[in-house]
Symmetry: C2
Subunit: 337 residues, 2 copies
């Protein structure tokens, strides 16, 4: 089965290259790994692997380096996500259990991920779409001006200021508040939006309609979708070589949350662990960085994403394990709340 051995060789190359950061040659390969064949044989395999595009050599007669395609094969077929040790699990638990609210959970997760993987970690705040409305509050801040406050089960608060044409009496306000709350409270946000919208006909011009409009807007506001926490940027300092080409665009991307979201992947892919290697991503400038991400969130389907981004030359099994473990733990945490 020379085919099988070839894959073993590829795996060994990836592992060695990740560990040493240097092109790996046939001789050191057979020494470090216990493949029971001679360097010459390995060389033949390497030549074949190179023909197929899985590895490449930086210069003539240097060692081999995995290509993106090689990493892809490695991730897809040559590795299993290695389970976390009990100690690591405990560490995750202790760190995350101390969180007091949603913001805290996200911040702790991001630090934890950065620490575990020694890469840059990115955590998207859970979307509103799955949370429920806890309360709607209307407050008159001026005669014809209302402050609409939307309080969600996650503890998040959205607010809008609404101008109304007619002055409202206190009784009208109380009544309106009651109506709106009756429609929205306890509903998940999408349903609440529908229910609230049903309260006012489109051509209505009363205060109700203005408030309804603001509420619907607040509910469907995607700003919180775009909220993201980033951590572990200091790990970029370990890039050392290839600085301008790799670190600079990444640093820029870290401040563009829209780009980060795109990197994490579309939320529609669910809670699958996804790995995007180098050029597979949407940005050319980031062609030497990979992303390991997954969906997470309470309930069955993930509704936000978290992950890490680092050089293509990274420890995929370890990163994948960490990302998955953190995602699972956070999801459970959110489930309980």
């Amino acid at each position: 089965m020379q085919e099988e051995r070839r894959l073993a060789v590829l795996r060994a190359i990836v592992e060695d290259y990740v560990a040493t950061e240097e092109p790996v040659g046939s001789k050191s390969l057979v020494e470090r790994h216990g493949l029971g064949v001679s360097p010459a044989t390995v060389r033949n395999d390497m030549a074949a692997l190179e023909d197929e595009g899985y590895i490449t050599q930086p210069h003539t007669s240097a060692g081999r380096v995995p290509t993106d395609k090689g990493y892809r094969l490695f991730v897809d077929r040559l590795t299993t996500v290695k389970p976390m040790s009990a100690a690591e699990k405990r560490a995750i638990a202790t760190i995350l259990d101390g969180a007091v609210d949603l913001d805290d959970v996200v911040n702790r997760s991001v630090r934890l991920l950065a620490q575990l993987t020694r890469q840059v970690a990115v955590v998207q705040y859970p979307t509103l779409s799955r949370s429920t409305v806890r309360h709607v509050e209307l407050i008159a801040v001026a005669p014809t001006r209302l402050l609409v406050v939307l309080i969600l089960s996650t503890g998040r608060v959205e607010q809008r200021v609404v101008e109304v044409t007619d002055e409202l009496t206190e009784e009208q306000l109380v009544e309106l508040r009651a109506i709106v709350n009756r429609a929205a409270t306890g509903e998940i946000i999408a349903d609440a939006a529908t229910a609230v919208r049903a309260l006012a006909p489109a051509d209505d011009e009363t205060a109700t309609s203005a408030v309804v409009e603001a509420l619907v807007e607040a509910m469907s506001d995607h700003r919180s979708d775009e909220r993201i926490a980033v951590g572990g940027a200091a790990n970029l300092a370990r890039y050392g070589d290839s600085f301008d080409s790799a670190v600079r665009p990444l640093l820029e991307a870290l401040e563009e949350h829209v780009i980060l979201l795109k990197l994490l992947g579309e939320a529609t892919t669910g809670d699958m662990l996804t790995v995007r290697i180098g050029h597979e991503g949407p940005y050319q400038e980031l062609s030497s960085t990979s992303v390991v991400a997954t969906g997470y969130g309470p309930g069955d389907e993930g509704f936000a994403r978290l992950g890490i981004v680092g050089p293509t030359r990274m420890d995929y099994p370890g990163s994948m394990a960490s990302v998955r473990a953190v995602a699972r733990y956070v999801s459970r945490l959110l489930d309980e709340a």
Copy 2:
């Protein structure tokens, strides 16, 4: 007046070094700047300046480089904050005027500063302490559970959940809400806390006391004091040399908001433009970075800080001008709101 010329030489050295990033020698100095003396004369001055500790040479018979002490003198006596051009002012205005709320103002400011100075920008969120209470809302979320919402003039919302021992009727709730609002609404936050605390004697055990406690806590909560926005980290990529020694600790500091706050300086120093050069700062690891910061905020006295942090070898006049201009504009913006 050889003393005067010496200072001119120092200024020229600083300017050249900042521009070229290379040690500057006597010959190129007299060429680039119009001091009407010979290189030899300048050399004598340089020797004197070196004796006094304002400049130093990296290696024997290389050019001279300013020391921290040299930069200090430069900043204190040899430079005036150069006014911004009309175009720059317009740019500041257009960018900041588009802001829709406090978060937006802060985010835009941080980007703007980073863009103007090409350094890392840091903006502290305005503290609650100077803002006024717009409204207090009490919401029963369960029979013996109240959600206390504190809405401030800045648009910030603080919330607390309170457990009360006795069940409250709707009337009691309305009354309590009225009492609390009468005491707090319109007051600046410190006064409001005092007023609210006066509502319930310390040994009281009623719902009032629980609510009061939560409110006071929310009002004095310092979490928002610590909120900080950072931008322009990509500018660190321009450091090029001295990477591990300078960029790494800075990247680490950027994630530790407590450290950033310390770097920005104590808020008690008011709205003075302060410059901290290299080792003058509280952290040894950041001995090759400087901070240009100032207080800002509505009203006369600054109550939050913003600034930039970059290499000691930076364009101080330009940075100071940008920081001050942005601070002023933001302050005016907050004043209007």
